[in-house]
């Protein structure tokens, strides 16, 4: 007999679906099936069962092979590396719980590290813009129940957030949107004809790198000022029509992703999109929301925010928090050679960073804490496997709309495998000993 665990949180993307049903074997050790999850979410649960999973820390040998070591040795290596470094980088934090992040930050403060999360190559530019001009936002529940103008700007939820449209943004029937997608008009702005663009009522095929101009053009149209014949490859009439569609809604929402945050203009794109949202509030109710990627990258920003005042790229090397992406962001630090040790937890810079940064990680003393074998674990001196948050251990996570949701434990981790919190707590205790209680 198998038993079913309901209302499971999916630890994959920022949509943080909370309606999964997991079928677990009677002894509570094996996951047999998953219902309601998207293909990627289901794979995340099944991957925890993989027979080839690494269950003990591994130390890289001079010839490139790996030697299994104990958790004690792994704690010792990590603590000594952080203790000896003048300016270590502690990167990742987006695929773990807020509890683990908090312990990590305690360590970072002790050793004068730089704490950076995956926002640095993702929605960090959004956070810069929010700091510059503020943000009028809402929750996904409000969107489901009220929104009738949905704009996807530079994002492709069909592939990146597979259940976003069915749960919140396009198809669900809400309190004031009882006809589901018949109530809603969908605008997609993307240079490519993506699967999201295919289901849109209006697709603006903007020229690459000209989002800033198009956002400005919408703002000009809202103020009835003259526009050039075409802006960013879009004819004037279509821009004015789009502005009218946005104005005529009862509740509108702009979702945006990497297409605007990491293309030319970066934070200025978001800055202008937020100002467009503000302008639209002269006519109707409008909100804007970032399509956050990792399931708890928002949580990392939250925890860093309340502990140090900045949401990413926090430099604690001089004992107080400083923040300036461009200087204290991971890629700049690595490429310029500003750090002398790298600690990675809950992310995979080996796969996401430019090769010039990845080479630096390979040269420096480095620790990778990750349940999987990843490009980062393969170039790090030490790989520490841990339990999967949201599968084998619970913990707090933040959804893309800044709503905290407690992830649930479904099965036990393999015997002897530590959780992120347990490993970090042991490193923290060892650092206390090394520093002599200072």
């Amino acid at each position: 007999m198998s038993k079913s665990v309901t209302d499971v949180i999916c630890p994959f993307c920022g949509t943080l679906c909370d309606d999964l049903e997991v079928i677990v074997s009677d002894d509570g050790k094996k996951i047999e099936d998953i219902y309601n999850a998207c293909a990627i979410g289901a794979e995340k649960f099944m991957h925890a069962q993989a027979p080839e999973r690494v269950k003990r820390p591994r130390m890289q040998q001079p010839d490139g092979s790996y030697k299994e070591v104990s958790y004690d040795e792994a704690v010792e290596y990590t603590a000594r590396m952080l203790f000896n470094a003048k300016k270590p980088l502690m990167y990742g934090w987006s695929s773990t719980s807020c509890e683990a992040q908090s312990v990590g930050h305690e360590i970072a403060e002790k050793v004068g590290a730089i704490v950076d999360n995956t926002a640095t190559v993702c929605h960090g530019t959004t956070l810069i813009a929010v700091q510059d001009v503020g943000i009028p936002s809402c929750t996904l529940g409000e969107i489901k129940n009220r929104a009738d103008r949905i704009i996807f700007w530079g994002c492709n939820p069909c592939h990146a957030h597979p259940r976003h449209q069915s749960r919140y943004s396009v198809f669900p029937r809400g309190f004031f949107t009882n006809k589901g997608h018949m109530n809603r008009k969908v605008i997609v702005v993307d240079p490519r004809v993506t699967d999201t663009a295919k289901l849109a009522d209006y697709h603006y095929q903007v020229e690459q790198g000209r989002d800033y101009e198009l956002l400005s053009a919408f703002r000009v149209a809202l103020r009835n000022e003259p526009l050039p014949e075409t802006v960013a490859g879009i004819p004037r009439e279509k821009i004015i029509e789009g502005a009218e569609v946005m104005k005529s809604g009862r509740f509108g929402i702009i979702f945006f992703g990497m297409g605007v945050t990491q293309s030319l203009s970066k934070n200025h794109n978001i800055d202008n999109a937020i100002m467009l949202t503000k302008d639209l509030n002269e006519f109707t109710k409008f909100s804007i929301m970032a399509m956050r990627g990792h399931y708890n990258v928002t949580g990392s920003g939250q925890v860093l925010g309340w502990q140090f005042g900045y949401p990413f790229s926090v430099d604690l090397s001089r004992g107080f928090a400083r923040y300036n992406p461009g200087e204290t962001s991971s890629n700049d630090l690595l490429r310029r050679g500003e750090v002398d040790a790298v600690f990675v937890l809950g992310s995979d810079p080996g796969a996401h960073f430019p090769i010039s940064s990845v080479k630096k990680i390979a040269e420096l003393p480095s620790v990778c804490v990750d349940p999987h074998i990843t490009p980062t674990s393969e170039i790090s001196k030490l790989h520490v496997p841990v339990a999967f948050v949201g599968v084998e251990v619970g913990g707090n996570c933040y959804r893309m709309d800044n709503v905290p949701i407690e992830a649930r434990k479904v099965v036990d981790p393999p015997e002897g495998v530590l959780t992120d919190v347990e490993f970090l707590t042991r490193v923290n205790a060892r650092l206390d000993q090394l520093m002599g209680g200072k």
């Binding site: 101009e213 400005s216 053009a217 100002m275 001089r318 200087e327 500003e338």
Partner: protein
């Protein structure tokens, strides 16, 4: 005027944060006292004397103090930070934050400067003979009051985001600039004597931008007004005047809407 010469002798392994290299900090100090001033390499607090050979002594006040920085300072940040008077001459190329929050005096860099040079500048004169990086004369992150006064002159090219949130003062770039000139600008004057590719004056509220070369893609919110003869950097020339950014808020003065002004050389 007394001159202090500091020469790089030991390169830092990481980067050196040397916010004490300024006439205000050197004034009234002997060479040995200057050598004992703090600097930071990562989390380690060290002294300037560990990295620099120091000769001469500071004048009685900042205004009487001249600093000459010799040697390779490409790994030294914050030279001339918050200086209020006196003179600093850097013979080679320093790293980030050169002349950041500068309030007065004269700062000359013979080489190039990296990003965030002259951010939040309030006064004084800052001359760069080489190129400048990104965020020249911009606001610090999150601050809506950027450069307020003073003059920055770059003989070479500048990076992107120059004069971000600029409120006053003048930035002159003799070469080309990258994208985003004077974004969110509210006052002051930016002069680019070369080309500026695109996004010039985006979200501009007030102030003046002059471009002598070409702009590949204009922002949609700029409307042509008239041709005007204006005196810029000591010489008169004819410019086409555009008002903008019409997508942005604009205050009224004496019943007239105040626009940002973009001048393109004819």
């Amino acid at each position: 005027m007394e001159t202090v010469t500091i020469t790089m002798k030991n390169q830092p392994k990481l980067y050196l944060e040397a916010d004490n290299i300024s006439p205000d900090k050197f004034a009234g100090k002997k060479a040995s006292e200057i050598a004992a001033l703090h600097a930071y390499e990562g989390r380690e607090q060290t002294t300037l004397g560990k990295y620099f050979e120091i000769a001469g002594e500071g004048g009685a006040t900042a205004a009487d103090t001249r600093i000459v920085v010799k040697g390779d300072v490409s790994r030294v940040k914050y030279i001339g930070m918050k200086m209020s008077a006196g003179e600093v001459l850097v013979e080679q190329s320093p790293d980030m934050y050169t002349g950041a929050w500068m309030q007065g005096g004269k700062l000359i860099v013979k080489g190039s400067v990296d990003s965030f040079a002259g951010i939040g500048m309030k006064g004084g004169e800052f001359l760069v003979e080489g190129n400048a990086g990104d965020y020249l004369g911009a606001a610090y992150r999150g601050d809506w009051r950027g450069m307020q006064g003073g003059l920055i002159r770059v003989k070479g090219n500048a990076g992107s985001d120059i004069g971000y949130f600029m409120n006053g003062g003048t930035i002159i770039v003799h070469g080309n600039s990258d994208v985003h000139v004077g974004t969110h600008m509210e006052g002051g004057r930016i002069i680019v004597k070369g080309n500026a590719p695109s996004k010039v004056g985006g979200q501009m509220v007030g102030g003046e931008i002059f471009v002598y070369g070409t702009i590949d893609v204009m922002m949609p919110g700029f409307k042509y007004v008239q041709d005007e003869e204006v005196e810029v950097d000591g010489e008169k020339a004819l410019f086409a005047l555009y008002h903008g950014d019409t997508g942005e808020r604009h205050p009224k003065r004496k019943g007239q809407i105040v626009y940002g002004k973009l001048y393109l050389k004819i």
